[in-house]
Amino acid sequence: MVDTSIEGHEAVRVRFRGGGFDPDSRAWVSWAFFALLLIVWEAASRARLVDPLFLPPPSQIWKALEDMTLSGELARHLGASLLRIGAGWLIGTVAGILLGGLIGLSWLGRSAGLPFISALFPVPKIALLPLLILWFGIGEASKVATIALGVFFPMAVSTYAGVDNVPRNLIRMAQSFNVPFPKIILNVVMPAMLPSVLSGFRISASIALILVVSAEMIGANVGIGALLLTSGNLMQTDQLMAGIVAIAIMGILIGALISWLERMLLGWR
């Protein structure tokens, strides 16, 4: 029984106003939407609503993907691209983290490095490929250098942003215990900047993927970019789309790898 001193009045419930602004993702909707898209695409293509020469149906793309996998052609192209991405990403990441760390930790590094980064970061790195070909030749080095340059800048920025965002109270705490400078870097700064560096990995991996395709389109016989360009020139749109699917899968796998790394290394958050 509710305790009340007001008789003869009907109680009016207070209206709930706190809902919304909390979008939730449901996996089945994502899959259903994807399946619906494929079904509509397939149906439109079979009904000749779109010309299969320009947009082949998913079944034809799947067949091309299967054929290229069985013949080993896809592996040859993917292998070449992955090798370039791996080398370029590694060089760019190591150099970016080193410069970013210097910018974050030393006044000299900040004074010299920050204007350099600010000036060159916005330059599209693919625009440097002709220059890099002049410097390193048409072979692997120019493509790897393009990817390394593309990766270098976002890694440098995310590293120094990571160092800047290390909570100062943690550094003061370590200093208050007379922890030596190298140990502060190792035990405080490096773990604290890790989230930012891993975000940098995600961005730089996407950039590496874009650049490898672009560089291979300009000067390569093998690689996913070369496959796309050749298929386009020969109007083999099913193979072209298969190449695009391969890139998308590669992107998803790289993203999943970085997510796994984040789960492993940032479980403390």
Binding site: P167, N169, L170, R172, M173, A174, Q175, S176, F177, N178, V179, P180, K183, N187, V188, P191, W268, R269
Partner: protein, 259 residues
Amino acid sequence: MAFELVVDRIHHQFGTLSVLEDITFTLRQGEILAIVGPSGCGKSTLLGILGGLLRPTRGAVSVRGSLPRDSLNPFTYIFQDFALLPWRTVAGNIRMPLEHHPLSRAECRARVEDALARTGLTDFSRALPKQLSGGMRQRVGIARALVVRPAVLLMDEPFSALDAQTRDLLMDDFEAIWARESTTAAYVTHNLHEALRMADRVLILRRRPGRVREIVPVTIPRADRRAAAARQEIDRLYEQLWSHIRQEAQIADREMTDG
């Protein structure tokens, strides 16, 4: 051999802003000195200068006598926001200040286990800070401070981030530790009740630029301060402190609000 921490005519400026002016006092071994004053009067700055985290614009802090030889970090801070490394376990956080000292692994472990036991954290040694309540996190901060056997504890509002009940429990723990170990401490707080419960003397700072307005001794033994018999004297001291601070705090508040 006893020691004293001598604070001699400290002035401090941030740019053109004068924060502290002519601060002079002595902190004696075994004494707990509370530092109170209106917001922005430079309490935390003064604490930073006492332990060498900030360099004063003028004046000096020096030690007269000799500090205990077994102290690995004579001036040890306990922070308001705990300052725990979130990627380390409780034991890892407590071990951190020992890692750059030439201690054997066994001694390191013994010190950490001792600090865990003294702060009631033994069962939580493998927990991460995010798994702990605010009170437990501050216990980790206290254990980390105790593990180096400090000569002087420098505490920057150590309870202000905690709720009232946790604060009370933690103060009980502190009282027990202090009673056992006769610790020397400088202790910044906004809370006058806290200051009167814990301190042997209360140093009152004026509003910015902070200057020593008065140092009020609290002569009632710490163990008796919550007894009914001490109530009248504690209330009198509270009124004395508040009368010093009230007007300054009002002016400081308006200064800050007016920007």
